[in-house]
């Protein structure tokens, strides 16, 4: 029988101090090192997506491996996403947000669930649902690029 998921987590609340006042969060899956936020945003929960130069992890073959926003956008483009203006809900589309730090280096990605909630895998920790800006801050930066694709393409 799977372990019940906790209602709260101190690691999350310490890393994202404004999350409680920013719509809160719900833990939605057990901890696992099997996939990361970049994969989770792409609906992949059996691979860790990583543009590591040592070629040990998965990255779309046609995309240059680099920790740059261009590389991440190109990776998501391989599964049908195109850059869009914002994270507003659009009928028939699902959206992802790529978070970057002040140097524009990708730190995180989240996937839109509905008009208010997004889903994120937090490193090797839990998946959570949260408001878009609930995980903004020092750890993950801020959402800087949004992409969308037709919701049927899963």
């Amino acid at each position: 029988m799977p372990m019940p998921l906790p209602d709260r987590d101190t690691i999350i609340e310490q890393a994202f101090p404004t999350i409680a006042n920013n719509g809160g969060y719900t833990i939605t899956s057990p901890e696992t090192p099997s996939y990361n936020c970049i994969a989770w945003a792409a609906h992949a929960d059996h691979h860790w997506w990583e543009p590591d130069p040592s070629f040990q992890y998965f990255w779309p073959k046609s995309v240059r491996r680099a920790y740059t926003i261009d590389s991440y956008v190109a990776a998501y483009s391989t599964i049908g996403y195109v850059v869009c203006a914002d994270g507003e809900l659009e009928e028939g589309f699902e959206k992802i947000a790529i978070f970057t730090d002040a140097s524009n280096v990708p730190k995180h990605a989240a996937r839109q669930l509905d008009g208010t909630l997004w889903t994120s895998k937090l490193g090797r920790h839990f998946d959570i649902s949260h408001a878009l800006h609930g995980v903004s801050g020092a750890a993950y930066g801020t959402p800087s690029v949004f992409m969308k694709r037709l919701r049927a393409q899963t």
Binding site: P33, C37, H47, S54, Y67, P106, K121, L122
Partner: protein
């Protein structure tokens, strides 16, 4: 006696007015002595691995970027243990698969993971545990 002779000249230099270079040499000798004696006398290899692994896990659990995960000082500390770390890494990943692959590659110089399994943590773990068994690192 030999050890005393090997160390003594540095102490002499450090107090004999040889300037900044002598001071740096003296400080380096003291740091090296402290490093080696603490590693040997106060902490076993297993304890050292567990301390570093625990710190690494806590400090990087929310990080999704392997580049940052592998550059954590505790992770680098485990890599610096060299082959001494291998039995502990394999035991750890047998119980709880985790991202030891960069460390294993750095220590052993090999990568037994097939291209199709890149990023599949379970398959990568299986490949490394098979490699460990083949190379007599597996304990169970």
């Amino acid at each position: 006696m030999l050890a005393t002779l090997a160390i003594a000249p540095f102490s002499v230099i450090g107090t004999a007015g040889f300037g900044d270079v002598a001071i740096v040499v003296e400080q380096s000798r003291n740091q090296a002595f402290e490093y080696f004696t603490s590693a040997v006398t106060t902490e076993t290899l297993r304890q050292k691995f567990e301390r570093l692994a625990d710190t690494w896990q806590k400090e990087t659990v929310l990080v999704s970027n392997i580049g940052l995960i592998q550059s954590n000082p505790s992770y680098l500390g485990i890599i610096a243990m060299g082959k001494d770390a291998l039995p502990f890494i394999f035991n750890n990943m047998r119980q709880n698969p985790n991202h030891w692959f960069i460390a294993l590659n750095a220590i052993t110089g090999v990568n037994p993971v097939q291209e199709n399994d890149r990023g599949n943590v379970e398959a990568m773990t299986t490949s490394w545990l098979q490699w460990a068994k083949k190379n007599a690192y597996a304990t169970s």
